[in-house]
Amino acid sequence: MSKSVGKSVTRVDAYEKATGRAKYMDDLCGREALIAKICHSTIAHGFVKSVDTAAAEAVPGVVKVLTCFDAPDIEFPTAGHPWSTDPHHQDVADRKLLNQHVRYYGDEVAVVIAGDEVAAAQAVRAIRVEYEELPFVLDVQEAMKDGAPQIQERCQNNILAHSDVRRGDYEAARQEPGLIRVEGWYDTPTVQHCHIENHGCFAYEEAGRMVVVSSTQIPHIVRRVVGQALGLPWGKVRIIKPYIGGGFGNKQDALYEPLCAWCCAQVGGRLVKLECSREETFVSNRVRHAIRTHIISYVRPDGTLAARKLEAFSNQGAYASHGHGIVAKGMNAFPQLYPCPNVECDSWTVYTNRPSAGAMRGYGIPQAMFAGESHIDDICQALHMSPLEFRRKNLMPMGYVDGFSKNELYSDTFHQCMDKALEMLDYRKKFEEYQNQDGPVRRGVGLAVFWYNTAVWPISLESSSCRMVLNQDGSLQFQTGETEIGQGCDTAYSQMVADAVGVPLGDVHVVSTQDTDVTPFGTGAYASRQTYIGGFSIMQTALALRERILAVAHEQTRMPVSNLDLVDGQIVRKSDGRILKSLGDLATESLYSLEHSQHITAETTAQIKSNAYSFGCSFAEVEVDIPMCKVNLLRLVNVHDCGTLINPALAEAQVHGGMSMAIGYGLSEELKFDEKTGKPLNNNLLDYKLSTFMDHPALEVGFVENPEPTSPYGTKALGEPPACSGAPAIRNAILNATGVAIDSCPITPHVLYRKFKEAGLIND
């Protein structure tokens, strides 16, 4: 009886957003707000000896200047993970609101609270900070060496965490005669999310409680972190999340909500707003972990894998944030994607004096796929084997079950996705055509696949809560703890609610804002989990609501519940299909009944004890202008199996966004640092080369719909997967075009110049 699911209905927020009516954090903030502005560290590592605030305090309009010597001595965790009641699984608490021990260029030293932005900015410039400078380290492997600068006292050699995977016997297996050894080191860059709305929030006290309105993905988690950071009972904190202008994982962290709340408390509970500039967003929010990966594969001449080894070094930056979860996810994908009986994997997450790395769309998989899928093509080069055939031979087969997560590959996803993509790109023909080119401008095609899963079970809690409230006219409001962050979940959920309850889509009203005082508990938007996880609680709550509606229908119609149905907003007698009354009439009668007045609502929490694989691939075609060291991306095709599509148009848009991110990751984006000072060099949108519309080909998207059996709606991850395989597909296309294997991204003209010189393609 699916009526709405599967259709490309218009976004429920489309008109509000397109006309500028939708309210974001800054639209909601009172104009009387005081402005908080942060004074950031101008050294990469050291101790603050003193802060001279006299000149800053003298700036007209300044209300208060607070320094690291005023901040509470409380270390708190910031990661947007569900809290664990087991202390061993709790996130690392390693930062304070303001820090005397500054650990990166851009750390928080002091904060000014002033009447307006100009006064706040003037005062920040007037603050004089005296430092005791310490040596600093930016490189992940340098940071692990004995004698490297110690960034967090708690971690020997700066190693926040190490984990490993062992399968079979790598050492013995690699002794097999006749094996071909392929080894590579692959580097991925520090990049930033670049969501359109910078993070910001405002805070005020009301009735003795702290209220924070924030541009966040995770209001319920932020409530807990603000409580922890300020030493407040969690019930004294209320977080409100309005529409936000993107997050991509950066806002899956408590960013400046704790600091803003503390500033508010320090000025008697007055309204205080703290908004990041773009420059601050690049450096003092979160970034993607730069990961260096070392892979050795022992391959038989027939293209089968005998033994494989992986070492991954993840650059955490100054504070733990999401920590080891990122590189661990990538490492765990390695033995699954290309199953091999003998595997040895190790991964390390290491503190350095760089900005803190946290969650970012893909959560370690874009890094792992760049390394892993580049390496697969390096193997193919060594074996003189087609990249397509090698993958067909070695990729995870249908029926594969992962022992830990119990994830199962129920369908022949990889072959189906590759089949579709290669047809879309006309891959085979082009692959042949592009052999043996020798001109200055050459073309190539490349592919890469990706591994992904949905949600965080069984590593962390997965639950979802939903509330539905029936109105007198038969329409209903619903709320979930999962958040709309631009991806369109309000719309997908509305479609799911309409079908599950049995009402027209137009009668479903989503309460988009999450307010921790009134929204049912949910941990927020991350892990590509929204449609999957939300689907459980929506289905369960819809069934509960239907049950209540039909019980009332029984009272009102005297027909047994077993003979009643709710279809498209009408109470229907099943036996003859007659419409007995509309849901609106039922609801009105129910609410105003002098005999038995009932407000019809339902609220449930769903326990989710499953996870789902979500796989796909990218195929790229490039034209490489060798003398100009330039790559022109001619075509990029992504094909995904994310199960049943709830809203095909929104799904395609979701993929476009991820592909765009992959293009920047592959070709242009990198946050750079001055080796001499640790200072970020390009923390603005001019010098940080986010790819523009003009750098994109028309993005081509295909879907293979194998319904996911564990999901009530047959759906699985699509939020992050589109960002995972584009960069290595481009890299492999460049290899196909030029024969030059690039071992790092982004593949900028600077990199190509060096590599083409080494390869003798450029002779200056």
Binding site: A121, P627, K672, D674, Y753
Partner: protein, 293 residues
């Protein structure tokens, strides 16, 4: 919210000159696409501004009686690109400034502001250098003219004297007649970027299109200010049109340019791109002039 001390709005060029004299510390603001950014960054925080936004008398493109092409300093990039006189006589300038930033920036950014900034990467600057543009400055003593090469003193510094504002960019008839050029902006992305290297070449061919009568080439970001590669120009002058000449011309530009190593790009990389760009821009210019290579 901008940290601005005062804003003086000039009503005429004369008024602008008077304001400049009355407020010698004030910053002239034209389109604002650079000045406002700098104020936000704190570099010009608390500045006094003299706005010349309303001066229509120095906006637009025209031909002087002697055939000189006059581009009013307040002419925006998008107007330059779409102007019929520009398209007829110096199309390459319209193409070059059409590569500045994005559409919004090109609607507010002006050629006067672009050149008064004195930055080597300005997209208009290499073409203006390559076409021997003359800068017209109006001050308390009246109007003076200066070659664009002399106007650029050093990085970020131009020869704008007390009380002066720039009122026009002039291209003489001798410079543009029968001349065809091509600009290559080498940047890290295809929009919203500043040039890693800007290369502007133009040629005038003999009547039979077989000989290069004159070739000119200027670069942005090959030195602290835009600069000409005179050795290559002299090498090409009077030579028969050929691909070999294009190659020699391009190799010779290395004699005169001096790009630096910076985190944005390495010197050897910039040199390599300069040679390749000079070759391609030369070939394209010859082609536009009707030559066959």
């Amino acid at each position: 919210m901008y940290d601005m001390k005062a804003l003086y709005q000039a009503k005429s060029v004369k008024d602008a000159v008077a304001l400049r004299l009355a407020h010698p510390g004030a910053q002239v603001i034209a389109g604002g696409s650079d000045v406002l950014v700098q104020m936000r960054e704190g570099k010009r925080a608390g500045a006094e501004l003299i706005s010349i936004q309303a001066l229509d008398e120095i906006r637009g493109v025209s031909l002087d009686t002697d055939g000189t092409l006059r581009i009013g300093s307040m002419t925006s990039f998008s107007h330059i690109t779409r102007d019929p006189l520009i398209q007829t006589y110096i199309n390459v300038l319209g193409e070059a400034v059409d590569q500045v930033g994005g559409p919004q920036i090109r609607n507010i950014g002006t050629i006067g502001g672009n050149t008064c900034n004195g930055v080597t990467s300005a997209d208009s600057a290499s073409t203006l250098h390559a076409w021997d543009a003359v800068v017209e400055l109006t001050g308390p003593g009246g109007v003076r003219r200066q070659s664009i090469q002399e106007f650029y003193i050093k990085a970020g510094k131009v020869d704008l004297r007390e009380g002066e504002i720039q009122t026009a960019i002039l291209i003489s008839k001798e410079s543009y007649e029968n001349c065809f050029g091509h600009y290559i902006k080498y940047a890290m992305r295809n929009a919203m970027d500043i040039a890693t290297l800007g290369t502007s070449v133009n040629v005038r061919l003999s009547a039979d299109k077989k000989t290069v009568e004159r070739a000119r080439v200027a670069f942005g970001v090959a030195g602290p200010v835009p600069l000409r590669a005179g050795t290559a120009e002299r090498l090409a002058a009077g030579q028969p049109v050929s691909l070999e000449l294009a190659e020699q011309f391009a190799q010779t530009v290395k004699e005169d340019i001096n790009p630096r190593d910076s985190w944005r790009a390495a010197k050897d990389f910039r040199l390599h791109i300069a040679v390749e760009s000079a070759k391609r821009a030369f070939i394209e210019s010859v082609r536009l002039a009707g030559g066959v290579l």
